[in-house]
Amino acid sequence: MSTTYDAVIIGGGHNGLVSAAYLARAGMKTLVLEQRHVLGGAAVTEEVFPGFKFSVCSYVVSLLRPEIIRELDLPRHGLEILPLDGTFTPMHSGDYLWRVNDHGKTVREIRRHSKLDAEAYEEFGQAMVQMCRFVKPILSMTPPDPTSLDPRGLMKLLFLGRRFQALSGQDKYNQVQLMTMSAIDFLDQWFETDVLKATMSASGIIGTFLGVRSPGTAYVLLHHYMGEIDGAFRSWGFARGGTGAISNAIGDAAREAGVEIRTKAPIAKILVKDGRAKGVVLQNGDEIQADVVSSSVDPNLTFLKMIDAGSLPDEFLEEVRRYKFRGSSGKVNMALDALPDFKCLPGPGAHLRGAISISPSVEHMERAYDDAKYGQFSRRPYIDIVIPSLTDPSVAPPGKHVMSCFVQYAPYKLKEGPQDWDRQREAFGDTVVDSIAQFAPNLKSIIRHRQVVTPLDLEREFGLSEGNIFQGELSLEQLFFLRPVPGWAQYRTPVKNLYMCGSATHPGGGIMGANGRIAAMEILKDWAKGAI
């Protein structure tokens, strides 16, 4: 078996696989190396308990770029997205807020809470869609370097400037606000219903170490409206067979294109000689030569663990060390004997098929953040719950269910230090169960198994530094031409022929695949130029 390749991709997550597929389609002999026994990185399905399959980490899909689905023909490789309809938010008052994809229905529901908000909601949706149209192209573009005079970069800045100019006054105003405001300040302008603002603002803080009142969180609200499946705006869904099925579909597409994939192949070092990447060394000692090395793991692992400090400029290392991860979320997966029964809307029903959001009030969200700021997990966390088995029976035994709870805040850096997560794991799990049981008292009696995934586990198991699910915080100063570090947002690195293609690059985290695709395009550019 040959051990020299045109390109080696470090990490078999969705971005690594997408990148590999595009490289292979362009004729590069490509190898993907995954440390774990399964493909997918944080987009995996695992049978954690006999008969119960969980999307252990990432659990919904919305941002997967349509051009990737198309170009890699993913449906043919088994990708099937099932709709996730709506968000159900139980309230302490015994009432609830239930928004669904059917706009009319949602507006009627909101009218129950506030007539004004019902009207505002219409406008709000339209405004958001406008904003998405503006932001979308940015998701598939290589960020320019604003400090260089490179004409291509300047053209891009000009292009963005022009697009902004072309917006109507109102859209300009909204756009600027979205980029700079806090989710709550922004929503306060539109709505008066507390629970509506609370549950909407939640999408602004997912995966960040920010509170709903922290400027910069408004922007992320957009992503909720950017969710796009088969061209349909703002639709979210599950992959049949769990999130891992997405990775597997991409994996198949890659293999078909000629990519070779090895699992259980953890990397020890990236080979660097006279400032050029030459390949990698596996932990088992195998040496693999390659003209291009592209890393889909985060900068901390890539530059501080896999490369000798000697081969990187100090200033660059300084920036990498400065790059913020600060994982703030955990996951609790439960195998259930029956469905949770919510006091405010008893019995089974469609409300359980969508997302169930434990975000009863703005103050709830805010206090959850306060706990984290001072180094403890939220005593009453924000929880985003889905029960995929209702939509996709294949993931649980007949009559049984799997329930996936995304929990924030769970700060990686506890007051007592990250290692203390091993001691606090079950306490954290109990807090989550109690918080949900407040609204669905039967929960405690129907739990058959429980898996608690702490930020520390995300780091150890999935190679996500400090347990950040997006490979680095999505805060304004770590986006676009500043992601991952200033001056290196073009997927290249100070080491020639070494590239980045993971979520730590623009446009950031979430199952988008855009990072991997754009990175591949950049690599192929250099490849064509013979620069490699």
């Binding site: 100019q165 700079t180 913020k324 304004l476």
Partner: protein
């Protein structure tokens, strides 16, 4: 009967006076209308206790822009700026203290006793901040460019700034881009390991705002301040001999000398508008004053939602203005003291009390301390342990207090305009006590030295001084309300949707502090329009 005037300026605050001066100098005949018995707005001196004078609200200059001071020849009108070498004295609960001086080397020595690493870093930080601030300084002295139709002039000045930006070099360029949206807590953590130093620098990022150090964008506030005061990491301290009132009195004199008229006790009830243009004002006495143009030094909300009949504004504009965040979280406590308080940190050998306390005193020893102060306000109460920016101006200027006695001026955060429990009428004293008690943790003998106290709540700031919502800067200093967005995107050039009605106050770019920049920029833009 209506008396015809050339230009009417509503409000005799420092910006109103600066605008009046420049207009008069250009041959216009501005009439400044001040509702209070004395001009000066928030830059005034009061004798709040027999023999004790104090800058009632703002207690240090922004500082005043040098070109404005020069143009108005304020020195010749008796203005004396006092710049103590001690910039900041920051005590810690453990009885240690950090002292920042104008002299960076000396400051570094002091920091070295906490951390050698930080001492070196401080110098680098100071220099980088200076370079960046000088570029931003350009932006502060220009009218924000029009977003829709940038004029040749706009592009030129932007180009010039762009050139200076490029001249910074890649490292500082990226610093500027990165720092802008950052949380100041992150910024200081990147540079320093000493918590006390972190807290001290971070204070400048949250002063006067409703943001905690963990809120994104607070670094932008720090940068904006640095741009105004020359980029000293420690921040500038400029007292005015005789208190801030002496500054505005000198300004008033300058404006008058140039040909402006100033009427105090003249409270404007509304701005009369005809065919979409401002035609003058009506006073609460019913007196009508017709004028060719009306310029408001009052905040944007008060001006456009309070003094103008909504009929004359597009609903869409009204909604945006209603969304303009202008709620204050700052209170002021002024104390007459029988003598200098003895700070625990200054006990022991070498502690020259007076000198150390002659600048600003920063109470906010940790990032968490500042953040918790903010947390309290988030839920509608004032901080149990407030962040305090304190001065004892009588050290540098003995004329403010009787021999051997002192005045202490305390800006306390956070004190929400709207309290969840009770109201300010009933809780005013409680706030005063909280402040004194919090301070006593650092200077135990303080309570015993208080002869008289004056507590100014956000409500007072609104009712007595006309600051809407008690917001001392005429509008929250958040990323979405700065530069081309101050007060609103599309209306950042001192004009309003009503022809010949202009803004010149702190609610316009650049705002922040007693610098006179807003007033000077406004005058320049308005003179272009008036002819």
């Amino acid at each position: 009967m209506a008396t015809a005037r050339d230009v009417v300026i509503i409000g005799g605050g420092h910006n109103g006076l600066v605008t009046a001066f420049y207009l008069a100098r250009a041959g216009r005949k501005p009439l400044v209308l001040e509702r209070r018995p004395v001009a000066g707005g928030a830059a005034i001196t009061d004798e709040f206790h027999p023999g004790f004078k104090c800058s009632t609200l703002a207690h240090t200059g922004g500082p005043l822009r040098a070109d404005v001071a020069r143009d108005m020849q304020l020195e010749t009108r008796g203005l004396q700026i006092l710049r103590p070498e001690t910039r900041v004295f920051a005590p810690s609960p453990e009885g240690r203290a950090l002292v920042l001086y104008g002299d960076v080397a000396r400051t570094a020595q002091g920091i070295a006793t906490f951390s050698k690493k930080d001492a070196a870093k401080y110098t680098e930080f100071h220099q980088s901040l200076r370079r960046i601030a000088s570029v931003l300084g350009d932006l502060e002295s220009m009218a924000p460019p029009s977003v829709d139709h940038p004029s040749a002039g706009d592009l030129w000045s932007l180009l010039k700034t762009g050139r200076r930006f490029r001249a910074l070099g890649k490292k500082d360029m990226f610093r500027l881009l990165r720092w802008g949206p950052m949380a100041v807590a992150d910024l200081v953590a990147e540079w320093f390991e000493t918590e006390l130093l972190r807290g001290t620098i971070a204070g400048r990022g949250i002063f006067g705002t409703f943001l905690g150090p963990w809120s994104a964008g607070t670094s932008a506030v720090l940068l904006q301040r640095a741009a105004a005061d020359g980029g000293e990491a420690a921040g500038d301290v400029s007292f005015v001999r005789g208190g801030m009132g002496a500054l505005t009195q000198a300004m008033a004199a300058a404006a008058r000398a140039a040909g402006a008229e100033i009427r105090t006790g003249a409270d404007v009830a509304r701005i009369s508008v005809k065919d979409g243009a401002a035609k003058g004002v009506v006073l609460t006495t019913g007196e009508e004053i017709a004028s060719q143009a009306v310029i408001s030094n009052a905040d944007p909300r008060r001006t456009l939602l309070g003094l103008v009949d909504p009929l004359h504004l597009e609903p869409d504009f009204l909604i945006k203005m209603q969304h303009y965040r202008c709620v204050g979280y700052t209170a002021k406590v002024n104390l007459a003291l029988s003598g200098l308080p003895a700070f625990t940190a200054l006990k022991g050998p070498g502690g020259d009390g007076a000198a150390a306390l002659s600048g600003r005193i920063h109470i906010g020893p940790e990032i968490d301390y500042l953040e918790r102060a903010y947390d309290d306000a988030k839920y509608g109460d004032f901080s149990k342990a407030p962040y305090m920016d304190i001065t004892i101006p009588s050290i540098a200027d003995p004329s403010l207090a009787p021999q051997g006695k002192h005045v202490m001026s305390i800006v306390a955060q956070f004190a929400p305009y709207k309290l969840k429990k009770g109201d300010w009428a009933t809780r005013r004293e409680e706030l005063g006590d909280t402040v004194v008690k919090a301070l006593a943790a650092y200077a135990p003998d303080l309570p015993g030295r208080v002869l008289q106290g004056q507590v100014i709540t956000p409500k007072d700031l609104e009712e007595t001084y006309g600051l809407t919502g008690g917001q001392i800067y005429h509008g929250e200093l958040a990323l979405d309300q700065l530069f081309t967005m101050r007060p609103l995107l599309g209306w950042a050039r001192y004009a309003t949707p009503i022809r010949s009605l202009f803004l010149c106050g702190s609610g316009t770019h650049p705002g922040v502090g007693v610098t006179g920049a807003s007033g000077a920029n406004a005058a320049r833009e308005i003179l272009k329009t008036l002819r």
